[in-house]
């Protein structure tokens, strides 16, 4: 059976790509997760997750132009696909359903 919902890390990456917009590549994605998500991330882990998301059709990638400060390597820009957006919404629904009705989580933050 195909996996229906995203892991928390995959979800964070998709959120980061959506927040950044058109210029989402490895470095800003990592910064966004670190700053907004308050979580230290490794670039290798981000690329592994991005490759997995791309294989599942949740993101697409295109290459930019190589730049000198990157040692002549091109940037790989990512975009969330329609399928990716649907997966985010489904995961959000699942989390919300699980969240609701738990007395310990009612009122205020944890």
């Amino acid at each position: 059976m195909a996996r229906q919902h995203l892991t928390d890390f995959e979800l964070m990456i998709l959120f980061a790509i959506l927040r950044i917009g058109d210029h989402a590549y490895g470095v800003p994605i990592a910064r966004e997760i670190e700053q907004t998500g308050k979580r230290t991330v490794l670039l290798g882990a981000i690329y592994t997750a991005l490759d997995r998301l791309e294989e599942n059709g949740l993101v697409t990638s295109t290459y930019g132009d190589p730049t000198p400060e990157r040692g002549g390597r091109a940037k790989r820009f990512f975009k969330v696909t329609g399928k990716g957006l649907k997966a985010v919404k489904e995961t959000q629904r699942a989390f919300t359903a699980l969240w609701s009705g738990i007395p310990q989580l009612k009122g205020g933050t944890a």
């Binding site: 590549y25 490895g26 470095v27 670039l43 290798g44 882990a45 592994t48 040692g71 390597r73």
Partner: protein, 201 residues
């Protein structure tokens, strides 16, 4: 322009992903002021991620190359090839081919097992690289796996039963053995003919 740690960059060049954008991201972050320690941590993570991805994408080629390399070393040890090399004088004497060495006491010193092992594992790394279409990642996996296999098969008993200094020699042999396997493999990778199709093509 800051230069990133050379050894880490070399490791990334050999064992990192074939697709270069993650390496570019790493360099961009390093140029923006990240520390060398950060760079090393990221390189190790990228190599670990790239290794697992490549092994999962090509499980048959990886397993076959590791099996061939392991079979080679196993035959060399258990087929008495190494023993024959290290005790060539006795072999030549008992087979009657050339008894002169034995009668004149020209033997190989016991410590020769150390360089002989280096050559053997260098050769096995070379074989693994050739069997995996020049994949440095498979060589890296082989170096790790061979360490485990060797210890399970042979090294553990030497630690238990051999008196010193043989145990010390066994420790040295076990500790440095993956290094010649890595170097032998990387030599094969770097000398691969450009016309040969690489594993990740």
């Amino acid at each position: 322009v800051r230069q990133p740690p050379k050894i880490a960059s070399a490791l990334l060049r050999y064992f990192g992903p074939p697709e270069a954008s993650s390496v570019g991201d790493l360099l961009e972050e390093f140029q923006s002021g990240k520390s060398c320690c950060w760079y090393w941590r990221q390189v190790i993570a990228i190599i670990a991620a790239s290794t697992s991805t490549e092994v999962l994408r090509h499980p048959v080629i990886t397993m076959r190359a590791i099996a061939v390399g392991s079979a080679f070393t196993w035959i060399m040890w258990h087929g008495y090839v190494m023993w024959a090399v290290l005790n060539y004088d006795e072999v030549l004497f008992t087979t009657g081919l050339l008894p002169w060495f034995y009668t004149h006491g020209l033997t190989v010193p016991r410590t020769a097992i150390f360089p002989a092992t280096v050559v053997l594992y260098g050769l096995s790394g070379w074989i693994v690289a050739r069997a995996s279409r020049g994949s440095a990642t498979v060589v890296l996996v082989y170096a790790g796996v061979s360490e485990f296999l060797f210890f399970a098969d042979f090294g553990m008993w030497r630690f238990i039963y051999d008196p010193l200094p043989h145990s010390l020699m066994a420790i040295l042999t076990v500790a440095v053995r993956p290094i010649p396997a890595l170097f032998g493999g990387l030599w094969a990778v770097s000398t691969r003919h450009p016309a040969e199709r690489p594993l990740h093509a």
